[in-house]
């Protein structure tokens, strides 16, 4: 697969500042990085491209010493090194600017820049004048007009990014990792960031630029590396490639996952959403959903899919829009309201939003259905166990006992508990947000199988997913969201990986 790597090394006689060889990193049930290699050269920008979950974030964590790889070598200036801790990585001159900047709002700009390596006076105290002087010098160097004495909380996001970059430069970084730095910036701020990247290049820094946006990759990067499913599937000079080729590499050709074979029998329209708007998160979302249908919602992380689903479920309040359920206009004021009316939401983040890990399995399953298992206000234990057993058995949950705490279950089984909980409420519409994120392949197949069964029984499913194979394999129809708006509506017949990626990234259709 390393098609062009020979050509690359011959044109750049420089030794890479940082080189990863055959790096692997696994988590229980998931191989996040599988034998990946990456070289970063001084004075060059390398773009790292890949779908959500391709392993980019894991790579950044390996590069910055937060994760220790299971195998492979890290070379700095051609010599083998190990990053045991984050300090090792920063000593080697690797610094990262994260999606959400990790800075301190209640400290001044100068303190943020020098936190942890502040200049000291002769008596071991903070050398404030020098800290201010040095901060100003670094900020000037990157062309940022920011007063070092200002509190960080008084700055906008773009300026905070600049402070993060200044901090990176203050430790004399040679490798700068930028993890989707433009995600939250406006157009003019993005332009300023590009200029800054040019300046860093001119200073001879090696830059790893992680981005979803093809236009900016082609604008500022010299090289590219494409990840897919934890593997490196291509690398080379951007001058030798095209958008089409990159998209092809990103989505791949192989469909090795098997999805349930289903011939959907679609019934009447169950749910209709019209003109759903939110002041900051999404705009004008409208669609219909029929009985027995699986509607996929695809988009990049941060496209506003989950935010929309939360509004649909009554967690947040939309500014405009209507919901029609079974031909009747309804208002959803709270999650309890939504559950009563037959709309349920299985959130993405199991740990945070899904299961209550300190409670046993049966209590998790029955939590939204307590009214049904109560008589005159008192819970009926026998009834409760019956309900819990019915739905956990249906999901084929393998657990020793129903009174086991959910915290002791594996990720896949926790997901089953959460889904069982919602099925027990007997909904009409079930919203599954990233239903198979972070669970092993076997559990994934079981969840897919089950989703197909639910649809066949007449339940309407909305599936939010960032995994292209899952979207392609499960959906009857797909809505692609980008930056809070619907970017495309695709029928099953029109679905292709390229189309999804293009719509989500905002690339014009190829002629």
């Amino acid at each position: 697969m390393q098609l062009q790597s020979n050509a690359v090394t011959s044109d750049a006689q420089a030794v890479p500042v940082l080189e990863l060889r055959g790096i692997s990193k696994g988590f229980p049930g998931v191989k996040a990085l599988d034998d990946v290699s990456l070289s970063l050269y001084p004075g060059q920008v390398t773009a790292l491209i890949g779908e959500n979950g391709a392993g980019k974030s894991t790579l950044v964590k390996v590069l910055t010493g937060i994760y220790r790889p299971d195998g492979g070598t890290i070379m700095v200036d051609g010599a083998e090194t190990r990053f045991q801790t984050a300090t090792d990585a920063s000593d080697a001159g690797v610094t990262a600017i994260h999606q959400e900047t990790v800075l301190f709002d209640e400290l001044s700009v100068a303190e943020n820049i020098f936190l942890g390596h502040a200049p000291r006076s002769r008596f071991g105290l903070m050398d404030w004048p020098r800290m201010r002087r040095d901060s100003r010098r670094i900020l000037d160097r990157i062309g940022a007009r920011i007063d070092p004495d200002v509190m960080l909380r008084d700055l906008g996001i773009a300026s905070k990014h600049l402070v993060a970059i200044a901090r990176a430069l203050s430790v004399d970084a040679r490798v700068v990792v930028m993890d989707e730095p433009t995600a939250s910036l406006s157009q003019t701020e993005i332009e300023e960031l590009y200029e800054l990247v040019e300046r860093l290049k001119a200073e001879g820094k090696a830059i790893l630029f992680i981005s979803h946006k093809f236009d900016e990759v082609f604008r500022i990067a010299d090289r590219y590396t494409v990840f897919r499913d934890g593997q490196m599937v291509g690398a080379g000079l951007l001058a030798d490639t095209s958008e089409d080729k990159l998209v092809e590499l990103m989505v791949g050709r192989a469909m090795d996952q098997i999805f349930p074979d289903r011939t959907p029998e679609l019934g009447d329209e169950v749910l209709r959403v019209d003109g759903y708007c939110h002041p900051t998160e999404f705009d004008d979302i409208g669609f219909g959903l029929r009985r027995g249908e699986i509607l996929g919602f695809y988009g990049l992380v941060g496209a506003g899919r989950s935010e929309f689903m939360q509004a649909l479920f009554g967690v947040t309040t939309p500014s405009a829009g209507t919901i029609t359920l079974d031909g009747e206009r309804i208002a959803v004021g709270s999650p309890a309201d939504a559950i009563r009316k037959g709309i349920v939401y299985v959130p993405e983040d199991r740990g945070k939003q899904g299961a209550i890990t300190a409670l046993p399995i049966f209590q998790n399953v029955t939590l939204p259905s307590l009214g049904r298992i109560s008589s005159r206000g008192f819970l009926q234990m026998a009834e409760e166990f019956r309900l819990a057993r019915k739905y956990t058995e249906r999901l084929d949950l393998r657990a020793a006992a129903l009174d086991q705490n959910v915290g002791n279950l594996s990720g896949g089984n926790q997901q089953k508990v959460v889904i069982a909980k919602w099925l027990a409420t007997m909904p009409k519409v079930i919203i599954l947000d990233e239903p198979t994120k972070g669970i092993d392949v076997g559990s994934k197949a079981a969840v897919h199988e089950f989703m197909a069964e639910l649809a066949a029984e007449g339940l309407s499913v909305i599936m939010v997913s960032s995994e292209i194979p899952e979207i392609l394999g499960m959906s009857d129809r797909v809505i692609v969201m980008r930056e809070g708006r619907i970017a495309a509506r695709l029928d099953r017949a029109e679905l292709s990986p390229e189309r999804l990626v293009r719509a989500a990234a905002g690339i014009e259709e190829a002629a």
Partner: protein, 327 residues
């Protein structure tokens, strides 16, 4: 079932309690005698009732520091009424005390629910406010035994089937809590809200209302204890039960109620209160100096917290693994 109980926190606490009682017995013969145990339980009754109320609040990831002030204020109100109008039946005063306590609790709850102020800040504020109101009502004066009616003072001391009414009330509240916590949707909601507030929201549970309900319940119990306290000790003044809110929190912590919310049992809260009650009762009679009494109570709290932190840590590790999964 039995082996499971033996491994539980409650069993260990029970063992520690028994060991403590036997230890005191070696210094002070007769301490472990049934009649004395009944006295200790009776002395600890108010602490038990308040600890149960506090437990409901702590389960929801909140804390109520105003319970002792609530107790003192309601106690002063019912004592004042009794002194001014001895004809008002005691039953009416008890109901009034509970109702007033619930109102004071509801005030905390509303601030936490609707204004989203951290509970520790809210109740730290009301702790002072409620005490201040006592001063306004009494103008700093005491209401002494001779100003209270005989019926007012006699009720908690009256014996019924060999136990004082005060003890019976504590037992009744314990029974009530076993049902509330174990058998009602609200009890379940306490655990859900404290265990994982985000998940509770998605389950259709109103986090704010559940917390409000916990504060109202705790307030009502504090009100009840207000009557019990002033009638039992036959005195009401501004500083009644001063600092007692910390004993209540300590009882919960010793009893294994997680300050982080979502973990804890009725049995734990009761045992925690009894443990503290035994220390407070036994150490003076065993001739241990007041300094050591404080130090021993403090040590018990720290040991309990360290122990609970250890037993909760294993759970944390499993959660972390699934979090890693997700990245």
């Amino acid at each position: 079932m039995i082996t499971e109980f033996l491994k539980s926190r409650e069993a260990i606490l029970l063992a520690a309690l028994v060991a403590l009682i036997l230890l005191v017995e070696t210094r002070f013969a007769g301490f472990a005698a049934p009649s004395n145990m009944v006295d200790v339980f009776n002395d600890t009754s108010i602490l038990i009732i308040l600890a149960l109320g506090q437990m409901a609040v702590i389960l929801t990831k909140c804390i109520d520091l105003s319970l002792a002030s609530n107790l003192a204020l309601t106690g002063m109100v019912v004592a004042t009424i009794n002194a001014a109008a001895p004809g008002v039946p005691v039953a009416a005063l008890i109901l009034l005390a509970i109702a007033l306590g619930m109102v004071l609790g509801a005030f905390n709850g509303i601030l936490v629910w609707k204004l989203d102020i951290p509970p520790i800040v809210v109740t730290l504020g009301t702790l002072t406010i409620y005490r201040g109101i006592i001063f306004l009502i009494s103008e700093g004066a005491w209401i002494n035994a001779h100003e209270m009616s005989a019926a007012f003072k006699a009720f908690p001391r009256a014996e019924f089937l060999t136990l004082p009414v005060l003890s019976w009330i504590a037992l009744a509240i314990i029974a009530l809590f076993v049902v509330l916590i174990g058998r009602t949707g609200l009890g379940r909601a306490f655990y859900a809200v404290g265990g994982n507030p985000h998940a509770a929201v998605y389950t259709g549970i109103s986090v704010g209302f559940t917390r409000f309900a916990a504060f109202v319940i705790a307030g009502g119990l504090a009100g009840l204890c207000g009557y019990l306290w002033v009638s039992r000790y036959a005195v009401a003044y501004v500083d009644v039960a001063g600092g007692f809110e910390l004993d209540v929190v300590a009882a919960c912590v010793i009893g294994g109620i997680s300050i982080a919310g979502g973990i804890g049992t009725v049995g734990g809260a009761v045992l925690g209160a009894l443990f503290l009650g035994v220390i407070k009762n036994a150490l003076p009679v065993a001739g241990i100096s007041p300094f050591w009494q404080l130090a021993i109570s403090g040590a018990a709290i720290i040991i309990a917290v360290a122990f609970n932190a250890r037993s909760e840590r294993t759970k944390g590790r499993v959660i972390l693994k699934s979090a890693e999964h997700a990245t």
